[in-house]
Amino acid sequence: MIRLENLTKHFEVPGKEPIIAANNVSMEVGKGEICIFLGPSGCGKTTALKMINKLIPKTSGKIYIDGKDTDDLDAITLRREIGYVIQQIGLFPNMTIESNICVVPDLLRMDKKKSREKASELMDMVNLDPSIFLKRYPRELSGGQQQRIGVIRALAADPPVLLMDEPFGAIDPINRAVIQDEFLKMNAELGKTVLFVSHDINEAIKMGDKIAIFRDGILEQCDTPDEILSNPKNSFIKDFVGTDRALKRLTLIKVSEAVLPFLAAVKAEDSLEKAENKMRDRNVHLAVMVGPQGRARGYLTREKIKGEEGGMVGEYISPIPGTIHENDNLHDAVSQMYVHACDWLPVVDDNGTYKGFITQHIIASMLGETPRKRGDKIT
């Protein structure tokens, strides 16, 4: 979808060596992918991004969008086909929210009625009530609300490509997490190709299908988050992603991908013998007792029932340490384990139904494995 070839930018500084803000950058981002530009301040992320919509003229190299050389397109037309979001939001104070969202559709002389409808739809997607907000002015919105409008304004003319320069940088952490989630959900539906500048590694891991890490205008590595975390190309990347990169990988894996499904689920009225057999067969050291609705009620371990005979599961049960939702990630699971001082947790779904359990042991072994793509199942 977007291909950069030997993209280079020299900023001429009178009386000094030119600053090389982009040095032979080549990369490709596929349709519908979110690629995060990451790197220390001044490494050239913004420059690389702005060359794509020609806000900064490039010195040399090529930019292809959808196979078309952007040199052949005029800047104004190109920009109207690319959504653009900046950190300072840049809503126009003189226009209502509705006119702000419809700026590009109006520039393109699209049907007014349709674009207003689209504006309402987009507002619904980011949980803002159109009947309340459309007629307001930007200054009558909170920062987080304005930033949401900034994002949907870029989407209003349905451009295939979205450029975002630290779009959530000015928002407080809690709101930021919410907007990130909203954005991911929205883009799962819209399937835009997104280039996204960030200098927050955690944001990059959370949002990115790909991460491109820059240093001094050079693209050091461009890979999936998992690949970058498990196989950093050089010591710079290693340092940049942090010594806890193994832990960061945990956020990439959902609990549901690591769960041991229904392993050794037992009922209160089962005999100890049956429980012990189950655990031995599955080669695990604990069994979870489920109630009539399928909820986890307690557990027992092999050590606890060693040597006991003739009883029922219900008599030997210990209370469960807590639960973890199947849609949470392994990072959440590990921290829950620390909270409850245990080395395993039962996994539940939305209804609280028991789905299986995860253990520290499994998590550790998953991290040791070769890099994985998101969505791979544990076998």
Binding site: I86, F92, P93, N94, Y137, R139, E140
Partner: protein, 249 residues
Amino acid sequence: MNYIIELIKRSRSLSFYILLALIFLSGVFSESTGLIKEFLDTFDDWIYLLRQNMLIVFTSGITATFLGIGSGILMSRPWFRRYSNIFAQGFNVLSAVPTLAVLALIMTVTGIGFKSAFIGLLTVTILPVVRNTYQGISEVPEHMIEAARGQGMTDQQILWKVQIPNALYVISAGVRTGFALNVGTSPLITLIAADSLGEYIFTGIQLNEFNSLLIGSLSVAALAIITDFILTKLQFWLIPKGVNPLRFT
């Protein structure tokens, strides 16, 4: 001290009574000094001078507003950028020049009469208009312009859809200042032989005629206050809500 504050605070009705009393007293006063008689005797003159005064204020003010906004916009254009700083400095310095000095200098070029008066009032009005227009446009934050450019607006569209609308309030403040200076200077044009309400005042001073003095002064003061009042209202209602601090809640 606090007592006085309290008193002033509760003065809504109080000030109303004071106003009534003042009106009554001034009525008595003007009757006894013959102010009203004098006013009625010279009523035709008054109407004529008022009309002339309003005419020149209005025409020179409007002309200055349009010329001023136009020049301010030109000054903010990229191709003018390298000179605009010098110009802005120049306008700053010039706006310190007293209005009587402006009239004096223009008189040396175009002599006396309506033409000089018109040019003088225009000059006085145009300075704040140009200054505020330029300032208002160049103060539109860079990131907002980047956002506009990033959405694919042409330079013209950025100017008309983003820069000017967001500068409107500052521009309107310049127009208000310009008109205030204009009305304030308008009685002085009597000195260079143009008709205005200043005639009452300067005659009054020369002949020590308090009635004439009062008629002139009150009329000029009322004209100034009403002009400013109208402009304030226009400013309130004409500047769009999103960029009008007067309407921020």
